[in-house]
Amino acid sequence: MSVVSPATKPGSPATKPVNLERRSLLSAIRPSRAILNIVLVVSAVFWLVPTIGLAIISLRPESLFQQSGWWTALTAPSQLTLSNYQTLFAQGLVARGVLDSLITSLEITVPATLLVTIISSLTAYSLVFGRWPGRSVVFLVIVGLLVVPIQVALIPVVQEYRVFGDLSGFNPFGTIPGVVIFHVAFGLPFGIFLMYNFYSGIPKEMLEAGRIDGAGEWQLFRRVALPLGLPAAASLMIFQFIWVWNDLLVALIFLGNNKHATLTIFLFEQTRTLAANYWIISTGAMISIFIPLIVFFSFQRYFVRGVLAGAVK
């Protein structure tokens, strides 16, 4: 313990029980910085290849597709053209076209995202700051619902929609509200969970001060909880937006025979019906990932927070 190696730097505590021999051995087998960087550069390139490939395929004329690989465009950039995009956009708003699907996706995603965020905030507020008995049990039920697969609800909800249609004259099956409702319900457990955790971190005194200051429950929610919960709500919104935007199953079932389709359905049908229509598929796929990419790069911080908060879904 008291042996001081001459290699010990001046100033370092003399009694450090560091086994120098072993450390130098380990540093010898430790990969050098250069190797580390090379490994990670190669990994990063691997990860980029699919996206770059997709982008290039969508930017090459269809006629080149079977002749040479997309990677040849890396050395011959003159291959690249926007013609695929022009062709798709030139179709305009024909039902089940790309533009029409883009709009349908937005029509579903925006309301589903807003509703989940608002309802989750309300429910979480009630669970955290309300004082009715049984709150903790309700919260546990919601935690239990977090991982329930949507498959267990598909058929009964179709049945419920039918019954609702018989009673009210409006059957949500096959309509955009029908899809939105389902998404909202299955977005809520995660949304409530995330907002609950955030609200739990707000000192209770903050709300009590508000109560004493004369605010009613609604004002406390709107003036205190909601603004304080904004970061969490932002995470939730982004998460939910991407979740709904990328959904295929729910839209496939609940849009039924609707003449409009979401972008994911558009892509799915293109692969099914036109198995070799790679130019449409790749261009459509690029369009479908464009909005999530914008969201991702603009709000990465909030997105990461949402991912960390809800590493369960």
């Binding site: 990063a44 309802i119 429950e217 929610f221």
Partner: protein, 479 residues
């Protein structure tokens, strides 16, 4: 003198307010009502669209295809006795065994390594980015990547490049998988030799030119190799000379055995002169007119061989999205095959899914790493632990809860795996790549009215499989 606390002088207690534990002052039940109004929208959605349907699905699973007649356990019996459905369990098992651990491992490696580079933000962004892509779009991307045609799929293109380098294809590839054969090229003066080679039908001697006619090679190929008009070779003493030509004249399609003016020679063919005992007496390569010459040949009779390497087709692509099994099961019966084979398409899809989710694992684990107590790690270093020991004895155990979260999250995720399979496995592989969630969709919602009883039973099984995760989550929240 001071007032004394009333504990010493007890008086009858008056009850002014009901005991309500946890307590809600002031408004009493009216405040509860306020809180409950906040709760109502969420409660209605959850009860109507998740809680009630859960029960209804359980009920439907005991009913027939139209969910109207009770059939007992028939749906479950059918599931466990139909090999095409049992395949879904096998695939779910493959996903569950392989994917969560693999993705966590990669996430851990990237999480740890990326902390030590300057461009870690860029690196993490690159790895994390695919998480925002839909599984549908990702599946399409990866379908292209794994495309069979090396002109389309970059994986096969890469393998082809490597393989061509080691074992280059001949100038005149014959692809057996496309129904072609070397023997099918025989036209005039040649016959099939051993191992996909061709040889002259008759023996040859020095000074006597030989003419070897082939057919069945496309003009495009010939154009590519720069073929020119076939020229009958001149006799040369002490040498075996000859011609290999395309015995097909566009102007005279039926004429065989003659060298016509619009017929082309085969350039670049690798030829071997064989002694009668089969050993090589020399090699030659044909010129642009298809002529060749073996010099300084002794007397005796020989055969001219057109080497098999001329026809080697090289690498033509692996069908990554196909169903060939990685485990040898072809000798087993159908049910055993369904349960034990590991189709290649599963592995390809797992790779695609890794691409999507590795960033998630990396980010969650990275956050876990960042929240570790640095001082503990430093203390370990001072106690003499090296880098690897610190990692294994300190970092890993402290990180264990995070790793478990990632594994469980990914486990639930792949139990429900659906879109990637629907979109990535081509029609011919779908049946072999099928999973519980996809089968549930197929039975419930495709092919006319669907079989709701069976689909519900599949959904119930799926639910039962996630129950351990539910329990784990509840434990984690309460503990």
């Amino acid at each position: 003198m001071a007032e004394i606390g009333t504990e010493a002088t007890p008086r009858a207690r008056r009850r002014a307010a009901a005991v309500n534990e946890g307590g809600n002052p002031g408004g009493g039940w009216r405040d509860h009502l306020g809180s409950l109004a906040f709760l109502a929208p969420g409660a209605i959605f959850l009860l109507a669209i998740t809680v009630y349907p859960l029960a209804a699905t359980a009920r439907n699973s005991f009913y027939d295809a139209t969910a109207s007649n009770y059939v007992g356990l028939a749906n479950y019996k059918e599931i466990f006795s139909t090999s095409s459905i049992l395949v879904t369990f096998r695939n779910n098992v493959i996903w569950v065994i392989v994917f969560p651990f693999l993705v966590t491992f990669i996430g851990l490696v990237y999480g740890v390594l990326s902390e030590r580079i300057r461009w870690s933000t860029a690196f993490k962004t690159i790895i994390f980015m695919p998480i925002v892509f839909s599984a549908t779009a990702s599946a399409l991307v990866w379908r292209t990547i794994f495309d069979l045609d090396p002109h389309i799929g970059i994986v096969n293109a890469t393998i082809q490049t490597a393989s061509d380098w080691i074992n280059p294809p001949g100038l005149y590839p014959v692809d057996p998988s496309a129904g072609q054969s070397v023997a099918g090229l025989v036209a005039t003066g040649v016959s099939a030799g051993p191992k996909d080679s061709l040889e002259s039908s008759s023996t040859v001697t020095a000074g006597n030119p030989v003419e070897l006619g082939l057919i069945g090679i496309s003009p495009a190929t010939l154009q590519l190799v720069g073929a020119q008009t076939a020229v009958v070779p001149t006799a040369s003493p002490g040498a075996v000379t000859g011609l290999v030509w395309r015995d097909f004249s566009p102007s005279n399609p039926t004429a065989r055995g003659q060298v016509l003016p619009d017929e082309l020679g085969f350039p670049g063919l690798k030829l071997t002169l064989l002694r009668s005992d089969g050993t090589s007496a020399g090699t030659a390569v044909s010129d642009a007119h298809g002529d060749f010459s073996f010099g300084s040949v002794g007397s005796g009779s020989y055969k001219v061989q057109i080497d098999s390497s001329n026809f080697s087709s090289g690498f033509t692509g692996i069908f990554w999205l196909g169903t060939q099994s990685l485990t040898p099961t072809s000798s087993l019966n159908q049910t055993a095959q369904a349960l034990l084979s590991v189709p290649l398409v599963d592995i390809s899809m797992i790779l695609a899914y890794l691409w999507i989710w590795a960033g998630f694992a990396m980010v969650v684990i990275g956050a876990g790493l960042a929240s570790l107590d640095r001082e503990v790690l430093e203390a370990a270093r001072l106690d003499g632990a090296g880098e690897w020991q610190t990692f294994r004895r300190m970092t890993m155990p402290m990180l264990a809860p995070v790793l478990i979260v990632v594994i469980v999250t990914m486990l639930i995720n792949v139990l429900k795996i659906f879109d990637i399979i629907l979109n990535m496995a081509p029609g011919s592989s779908q049946g072999d790549a099928n999973t519980l969630a996809l089968a549930m969709y197929n039975f419930g919602f495709t092919g006319g009215l669907g079989n709701w009883g069976l689909a519900s039973a599949l959904a119930v099984i799926l639910f039962i499989l996630v129950i351990p995760a539910i329990v784990l989550n509840l434990r984690r929240i309460r503990g």
